[in-house]
Amino acid sequence: MIQTLEDISRLAREKGPKKLAVLAPEDGEFMMAVKKGWENGYIEPVLIGNLEKMKKVADEVEFDISQFETIIEEDRQTIADLGTSMFFEGKFDIEGKGQIPTSYIYRSIIREEAKLGTGRTVSVISLWEIPGLNHLVGFTDTGATITPDYNTKVKIVNNAIFLAHLLGYPRPKICVLSGQREIGGALPSLNDGELLKTAAASGELGECEIIEATNFFEIFMNMEKPFDSYEQIDISKLPHILLAPNLDTANILCKLNFLLDVKRRSLLISTKGPVIIPARSDFSNSITGEIAMGVVIADRIREGVS
């Protein structure tokens, strides 16, 4: 079972190098992450994008990219389409998003999934490492669907459960988050949560457990005992997966790594393997960590670990 991001780095060194298609690594922080990934033995990159821009940022971070395969392409959507179709053909183990709009890569993946008829939805999982907790926690969907309906939430949860199993959490606990308070009518997020609980109980979602709590207070506290002290908070009560009501909530919560003492790694799992989706504001350490995550997940998908 993977407990920490250090486990991920260690495993990535063991299981690498994997072939990573890098879409438009045209930014210094991103190219630095590719360099570190290569130096750590995680990856062998294939660089797709504007050659001049890629060379410029590679020079800035003192990385000789002439040794790697490069595919020269200017148009952002074409870069996404080309990289993704080659990824789906099995030419790469991992795909990684550089300086292209995220929606372009989603579009390409949705198209490839449709060709295969998988019915899989594109959703992003942002994993947090929280000090003192012996497993990672995944917020989802932090990137793709703006206001998922119940059926989409089922697919988003399925993707998250698949990843949780790969991380070695055989029966992940899931909290369907909701802004339902003591006041106001029932929010759709609460209703969806109830339906998901029923689906989970009947085995429709596979090995998982949807917990009763719908917010952080309910996860950590109970109404019987008032919240007197922060000593009462037992972080181990946090489940493996937090399904957010909508994109605004998911993204806002998962980006709190910029404020709190937690680390975040964001990725999506396609039928053909992991796609790493760094935020445009992420720094190279975080992106290198995501590359390592991609390596481990690609390896586990290939090995059929679940």
Partner: protein, 304 residues
């Protein structure tokens, strides 16, 4: 500028004691009231069954000189009395053992006279972990999916609090959403952009609203720079305006339970400050809530 709970409480202690009205106090409420009384913040008025209250008070160090009891055995009538007292000759209304929905309904009812005429919103105040700075997040409780018009009122409600907390001018507001780019498919980004434009036209006074901002741009100047967002708000926002309550409610709880940040919440948009019994506010911070409410009281009114 008030930057810590300590400063907030000290400032409230410098002002007159406030008359705090509570209907149907519980033992837990009385604990908090006892502490706030000892801190010279309030003189409590307890509304409910007198003999029950008398019995409960014996478990505290409060003496007869410290409090007043209004005898009313009926729960609903006790709450109605408390609300009327708070409006007519009290300073702060605090929720006791009343069901949240009932309490909020009574407070928001036009007949209560507590509402300023528009809408009430909850402001969650947090103290940052490594800086002497308080930040405001709103609306974290009251309105499910506010319209643009309602968001503007929610913002204005919060801005009155930035005055009370003497934040430096210009006040900096991050209107947050999933992304910092304006995307017509994501309504929160459009609302944020409009409110941001309104601030540019000085429609909120000496206030800079930046929006849409995603959370990374809002809390980190470095992250914002990576995305090409340059603003005095990034990394230094005083107020975080959230898109809807799913975000507001969960964000404030996450900061408490995972971020271990301390929070005090108070209702804004009412003529008399109202404290809702939010279970995720720690006992210690309920004192800060009372101090905050105390500073929100209109000056020179019903000081005890």
């Amino acid at each position: 500028m008030i930057g810590t709970w300590k400063e907030l409480i000290e400032r409230a202690q410098d002002s007159e004691k406030k008359k705090l009205i509570v209907a149907i106090p519980t033992l837990h409420t009385l604990d908090v009231i006892e502490e706030a009384s000892r801190a010279h913040l309030i003189s409590p008025v307890l509304v409910g069954n007198a003999s029950t209250i008398e019995k409960m008070v014996t478990s505290t160090s409060l003496t007869h000189q410290d409090y007043e009891i209004i005898d009313e055995g009926d729960r609903d009538k006790a709450l109605a009395k408390a609300v009327h007292m708070a409006r007519d000759n009290g300073d702060i209304l605090m929720q006791g053992h009343n069901d949240h929905q009932t309490f909020v309904d009574v407070v928001l009812n036009e007949g209560s006279g507590l509402l300023n005429g528009r809408l009430a919103s909850l402001v969650s105040v947090f103290q940052l972990l490594e800086r002497d700075k308080l930040i405001l997040i709103t609306d974290t409780y009251m309105n499910d999916y506010p319209s643009l018009k309602e968001k503007i009122t929610i913002l204005e409600n919060a801005l009155t609090l930035t005055d009370i907390l003497e934040f430096d001018s210009p006040r900096k507001v991050a209107a947050i959403a999933a992304v910092e780019q304006i995307n017509p498919s994501i309504p929160a980004t459009v609302d944020a952009a409009i409110i941001s434009k309104m601030s540019e036209r000085k429609q909120f006074g000496d206030v800079v609203v930046e929006g849409a901002l995603d959370m990374d741009c809002a809390v980190s100047k470095g992250a914002a720079a990576r995305k090409g967002v340059k603003s005095i708000v990034t990394g230094n926002a005083d107020v975080y305006l959230v898109p809807e309550v799913e975000t507001g409610y969960l964000l404030s709880q996450l900061l408490v339970f995972i971020g271990k940040m301390t929070m005090a919440g108070v209702l804004a948009g009412t003529s008399t400050p109202v404290i809702i019994d939010l279970p995720f506010v720690s006992r210690e911070n309920k004192i800060a809530e009372i101090a905050l409410a105390s500073l929100m009281c209109p000056k020179g009114d019903n000081n005890a």
